[in-house]
């Protein structure tokens, strides 16, 4: 596992955080430093503890051990409202019987902020989020995207340092989701706040994050920039979790053949001359992974590796096409542009460059 690099003046710093629900340990001595103005995405499968971690940061859950700093202040025992955070929930959690304006102002009024100050802040948030015409409506009269903006607005008016998002887009349909994704990205660029964003949608993670923390079972597996995670996943889990369709994995053995390393499966041998090893390799069981878009058809020569495979299913997806192949006993997916697609049952020749591939230890799953 690769842990976060040290950050000078972290906006949010989580130190040795543990959390148990009764006997169940959900988070184990977790460390995470978030730089000022950074957009961190927590990504992971359902139940891996993303929301739990976010709730700990917000102070909505009592932690079992560890410390949490926000802007250098130890907020471990602070009330949520005193932590300088704003939070946007998956269900938005708008107060249904209040107008948008009151939704935005409720927290401020309770905190006793003067009227004109409230008005000013709402005006500003409404302008940023372009919800001025909606201020007098009730949430039930808003579309999903508009509700989402109001939910963000509620965090916005509070003038906080850190924004926490818990799967804010997962209730929306695909189209709206992609639009709002861009909006959030623009908002972040505009506000320059620190943002911690939970999702299990890898597209969101890839497009939004400065850094992604991929989590599994309450542990951060990898914390890095999106392209790094995509291209050089630290272990098999991360490799498999990112990318749709998923990376192709081939179980086999790592062998040394003369001076050159090979990956051997059945009677196929993939030369690893171009592969950049993470650490000194050793012979033994290993997993070879290559992304569908890094495989090409009818490649003739020029590829370090080529093979012949049978087409099982062709899935045209509009802009490009997925081809599901059988390579020996192994399922294999290839992604190509829509122009050159084989047909079901065709035998095709494929090729790729192991430079683009990832190799994992057969036992631990760690990158080799």
């Amino acid at each position: 596992m690769m842990m976060a690099a040290e950050i000078a003046n972290p906006s949010v710093s989580i130190q040795d955080l543990s959390l148990n629900f009764g006997a169940v340990s959900v988070l184990q001595t977790l460390n995470l430093d978030v730089a000022d103005g950074e957009f961190i995405v927590l990504l992971g499968p359902s139940g891996c503890g993303k929301s739990t971690l976010l709730n700990c940061i917000a102070g909505l859950l009592d932690i079992s051990d560890g410390r949490i700093f926000i802007k250098g202040k130890n907020v471990t025992w602070e009330e949520p409202k005193d932590r300088g955070i704003g939070m946007v929930f998956q269900s938005y959690a708008l107060y249904p019987q209040m107008t948008v304006e009151r939704n935005l102002s409720f927290g401020l009024r309770v905190a006793g902020v003067p009227k004109d100050e409230i008005a000013k802040r709402i005006a500003r948030a409404a302008e940023i989020l372009q919800i001025e015409p909606l201020l007098q409506r009730k949430p039930s009269a808003l579309s999903g995207g508009q509700r989402q903006r109001v939910a963000i607005g509620r965090a916005l008016v509070r003038d906080v340092d850190v924004f926490l998002f818990d799967e804010p887009l997962s209730n929306l349909d695909a189209k709206l989701r992609s639009e709002l994704r861009v909006e959030i990205k623009l908002l972040h660029r505009h506000l320059k706040n620190t943002m911690i964003y939970v999702t299990h949608d890898q597209i969101e993670a890839m497009t939004l994050a400065d850094r992604i923390a991929v989590m599994k079972g309450g542990v951060i597996q990898q914390l890095d920039a999106p392209q790094t995670i995509y291209n050089r996943p630290v272990n098999r889990f991360v490799a498999g979790f990112l990318g749709s369709p998923a990376m192709n994995f081939i179980d086999g053995r790592l062998e040394k053949d003369g001076g050159d390393w090979h990956f051997a499966v059945e009677d196929v041998r993939i030369p690893l001359a171009t592969y950049a090893f993470e650490k000194e390799p050793a012979p033994g069981p290993a997993v070879f992974g290559i992304r569908p878009e890094h495989v090409a058809f009818n490649s003739g020569t020029g590829w370090p590796f080529t093979a012949t495979a049978n087409v099982e299913v062709v899935e045209p997806m509009g802009s490009d096409t997925l081809v599901w192949l059988k390579l020996g006993q192994q399922n294999f997916t290839v992604r190509v542009t829509s122009e050159r697609t084989p047909k079901n049952g065709d035998a095709v020749s494929i090729g790729f460059d192991p430079l683009r591939a990832s190799l994992f230890d057969g036992q631990t799953g760690d990158r080799i």
Binding site: N55, A58, G59, L60, E79, P80, K81, D82, I85, G86, M87, F89, Q90, S91, Y92, A93, L94, Y95, P96, Q97, M98, F106, G107, V110, A111, R154, A155, R158
Partner: protein, 297 residues
């Protein structure tokens, strides 16, 4: 192409219709039929036995000039207001307390709910006894030294209806609490979290956010309470029999007494009709809103 004819509408869902016969019969024969019959005979001077001897609105004139009926109506309003307000408030408060992730929640809930399993007769007897000034609470407090202490709600005309409500609340708030608790549990956790992040104190969250969100629960509860209020009878009989004097009379008892004690069915039916009328005025629009519309997509 074959051309099967559209089958008769009557026989579609035939089983469902057959199965609904008890409901339809009950609705038509008992509730509609019985009501119509009652209304019809309220215009007669039937005494012990129903007779179609029409006397126009005489029974109603008499009804509305009877002080006992007026007292009954007034009592019903007071009792209704008290039950409604207090059972909602107490029920909600208890539910809110129980919703604080407390220990022994089951035990507390059971304690608050058990009176609901007891009949009004039993409830009435027990409270009549507890409130009896000669050996109930008043006597106990006096024995403790406060000899001037006075607490005899069931024997004081001006407050007797409040005294009766004590028992009613004791018996009924448990159920209301249960309904409210179910409603509270139905509120999205995220709303609570959002409110905490916004720094809104718990009581304000309840008052301004949660309660308005529980509208449907409140409506259900309201209907249940209201149905109980109109029918209140046993409790009064068991505690005071309408006394002292006629200070705790209620309409349902008026109906019963005049139909059977006084052997004046016409008068009893006229009072029944007035009760039905008020029920219908309140309930039918609500029922149409609630159940008449398309509820499912």
């Amino acid at each position: 192409m074959s051309n099967s004819e559209r089958p008769s509408k009557l026989f579609r869902n035939l089983n469902a219709k057959v199965a609904s016969i008890p409901m339809v019969l009950t609705a038509l024969v008992v509730f509609v039929g019985g009501t119509a019959w009652t209304v019809l005979y309220s215009f007669t001077n039937s005494k012990l036995l129903p007779r179609l001897n029409f006397v126009g609105l005489d029974q109603y004139h008499r009804l509305w000039s009877t002080s006992r009926w007026l007292v009954s109506i007034e009592n019903l309003l007071i009792y209704g207001a008290i039950s409604l307000v207090f059972s909602l408030v107490i029920g909600f408060l208890l539910a809110a307390l129980l919703d604080q992730k407390i220990r022994f929640e089951d035990t507390f809930r059971t304690i608050f709910l058990y009176p609901f399993a007891l009949s009004f007769i039993v409830t009435g007897l027990v409270w009549q006894w507890l409130l009896n000034p000669d050996f109930g609470v008043q006597r106990v407090v006096r024995d403790l030294g406060w000899t001037s202490f006075s607490f005899d709600p069931l024997y004081n005309s001006s407050i007797v209806i409040y005294g009766i409500s004590i028992a009613a609340l004791w018996q009924g708030t448990g159920l209301i609490m249960c309904l409210m608790l179910a409603g509270l549990r139905g509120i999205d956790e995220d709303i609570w979290k959002a409110a905490r992040v916004d720094g809104i104190p718990a009581w304000k969250t309840y008052l301004f956010i949660v309660i308005p969100m529980m509208r449907p629960v409140f409506i259900t509860t309201l209907v249940i309470i209201a149905a109980g209020i109109v029918k209140v009878y046993d409790l009064v009989v068991a505690q005071t029999s309408g006394g002292p004097g006629i200070a705790s009379e209620v309409p349902a008892k008026y109906v019963y007494d005049y139909m059977f004690f006084a052997q004046n069915l016409g008068q009893g039916f006229a009072a029944s009709t007035m009760m039905l009328l008020s029920v219908v005025i309140v309930i039918v629009p609500w029922a149409y809103l609630e159940f008449g519309g398309k509820k499912r997509g």
